[in-house]
């Protein structure tokens, strides 16, 4: 089984979010980057579990500048066999998906896995876009993934419930909670990651469909109104007359 896992960097979940250059750029000052949790905890770890049980290869791919190699090495330390970095600043989901699809087209993968979304852009776009570029089926928001031969069985979230589906490889899957448990890289993994292959692939030129112009932060909340625990009638009255939500 040849598996491609798409990873993205994202700021640590506790990062303070702020912007610079007239609110046109994310302020990276003091920000610690991590592998996007959905890509790491679910997509990558499940890919490694499949490799361990049925054999195969796990390649990780990221679109980003040389500075992103630290998070790529972390994914290698968790256990991926090799990595590919497409040498470009990612501008939007369409750009990232087109780059990954161009690489995947030239290399045969049975499974292409992404996280369900990144925690910085929350778009849930890259997986579906890769699938359309490659004209492959796409199973989004999968919480279980099993493989028997060329048959892939998945459990996925649907509106108001879950469904179990079967599809043949090759297929693109976006991975959500439930698929696997987070793995912490051990010292052996970290040492091995240093010498694992990391190919740098040049960018494919393309037209940009969207661009992120400016950013803003939500308005600061006004101080919380405290209500005495014995006076729930007052809370109900405030929710009705002041907040007007009931």
């Amino acid at each position: 089984m040849n598996i491609l896992v798409c990873i993205s960097k994202s700021p640590d979940t506790t990062s303070k979010i702020s912007f610079t250059d007239g609110n046109t750029k994310f302020d990276e000052n003091g920000v610690q980057y991590i592998v996007n949790p959905y890509d790491e905890w679910y997509a990558l770890v499940r890919a490694l579990e499949l490799k361990e049980t049925i054999g195969g290869n796990v390649t990780i791919i990221a679109v980003g500048p040389a500075a992103d190699e630290s998070i790529i090495r972390k994914a290698l330390a968790i256990g991926a066999d090799k990595a590919v970095r497409i040498d470009a600043e990612p501008t939007d989901a369409y750009f990232v998906a087109a780059q990954i699809a161009a690489y995947a087209k030239e290399n045969n993968f049975d499974l292409i896995l992404t996280g369900k979304e990144t925690i910085n852009y929350n778009g849930s776009q890259v997986g579906g876009m890769i699938a359309e570029h490659l004209e492959l089926p796409y199973v989004s928001l999968a919480s279980k993934l099993d493989v028997a031969g060329t048959t892939v069985t998945l459990e996925q979230e649907i509106v108001g419930g879950l469904q179990v589906v079967e599809v043949s490889t090759p297929v693109v899957i976006s991975c959500a909670k439930g698929m696997a448990e987070q793995r912490i890289p051990n010292m052996r993994g970290i040492m091995a990651a240093r010498t694992k292959p990391l190919d740098v692939v040049p960018v494919v030129a393309l037209e940009l469909y969207t661009n992120y112009q400016t950013y803003s932060l939500p308005e600061a909340k006004k101080a919380c109104t405290l209500i005495d625990a014995s006076n729930m009638d007052q809370l109900v009255e405030l929710l009705h007359n002041e907040a007007k939500v009931i």
Binding site: P37, A93, N122, E157, M232, L238
Partner: protein, 313 residues
């Protein structure tokens, strides 16, 4: 601009669908709903501005590839310049495919109408609700996936004309083996009122009072991540950064301290009420109303007060 709105046949009377059609209407041109399977009930979407409903009755359940082909066919047929989705699980699998197929820029998770004075740009949620971005679309066709509860649906009266069409959806390569639907609950992402509880409730056996409160309000129930992880509540109720992100009008949280990862999933809520015995809980900083007290006493009192209010109004 002439706008297509994709709506699933089970959602013709859902508030999120009314919002999507209202949004499309406000883009200023003719609004055409596209669906598949069965259009019974879809004519009512005319009240929110849809002139026409295009239905391909030959295909009941469609996967993302089929829906992409079907909507692309409708877009080509009508010459639509914009395609609107409600940002649900279907939109998340279909809109990105459609973007590639139609060479149309996608705005995912829009929270407002576009700015069209110079080009076409729209505000979206980013950084898990901790910030907003303005995204411009450079392509002639625009695709917008609208977050629920972002605009107020406007009933302007009227009915839509239903027409059959051939969506050329092709065959599915995905086989549905089983479907599991939890009974009777309000889907969390669409709920306007949500009652949520965390580890402060001490055990799954204490959720009765949370459900009582939710029932009196007509609210959906939710929980924090630890509660879902230890199995007190099902995973689909977990709201937060790695669970469901919600933006209801009212979010009541009891026994949840308000870690930054939890806030990321609920900070789009219009009004937040926090009930916690620890006056130092970080959640109070994000709350509009706070009650410092024991959830086991406060929740039943709040339920009683709400009952009294409901009976009097």
């Amino acid at each position: 601009m002439k706008t297509l709105v994709y709506i699933n046949k089970n959602h013709f009377s859902a508030k999120a669908s009314f919002e999507a059609v209202t949004y499309a209407k406000k883009l200023g041109g003719e609004v055409i709903v596209v669906t598949n399977g069965d259009a019974t009930g879809a004519e009512a979407l005319g009240a929110y501005g849809a002139a026409k409903v295009l239905v391909d009755t030959t295909i009941a359940e469609a996967d993302s590839q089929q829906l992409t082909r079907l909507i692309a066919t409708a877009a080509e047929m009508t010459g639509a310049e914009a395609i609107v989705f409600s940002h649900d699980l279907v939109a998340k699998s279909v809109a990105p495919r459609l973007s590639v197929r139609l060479k149309a820029g996608l705005i995912s998770g829009a929270i407002a109408l576009p700015e069209t004075a110079q080009g076409f740009s729209c505000k979206v949620n980013v950084f898990s609700g901790k910030a907003f971005a303005t995204v411009a679309v450079n392509t002639s066709i625009k695709i917008i996936s609208l977050l629920p509860n972002s605009i107020q649906p406007e009933n302007i009266g009227g009915t839509a004309v239903v027409e059959n069409f051939d969506g050329k959806a092709g065959a599915s390569v995905i086989k549905i083996v089983a479907t599991k639907k939890p009974e009777g609950s309000i889907p969390l992402p669409e709920a306007e009122l949500v009652v949520s509880a965390g580890r402060g409730l001490k055990g799954p056996e204490n959720w009765g009072m949370v459900e009582d409160l939710a029932n009196v309000l007509g609210a959906a129930t939710a929980c924090s991540r630890p509660v879902a992880d230890i199995g007190w509540r099902p995973h689909h109720e977990h709201v937060g950064q790695t669970g469901v992100a919600i933006r209801p009008n009212l979010y009541i949280a009891a026994g949840i301290s308000g870690a930054i990862q939890h806030l990321a999933g609920v900070n789009g809520s219009k009004v937040i009420v926090v009930i916690n015995s620890d006056a130092e809980a970080p959640f109070f900083k994000a709350a509009d109303y706070g009650v410092v007290g024991d959830a086991f006493e406060v929740i039943p009192k709040l339920t009683e007060a709400l009952k009294k209010f409901k009976n009097a109004n």
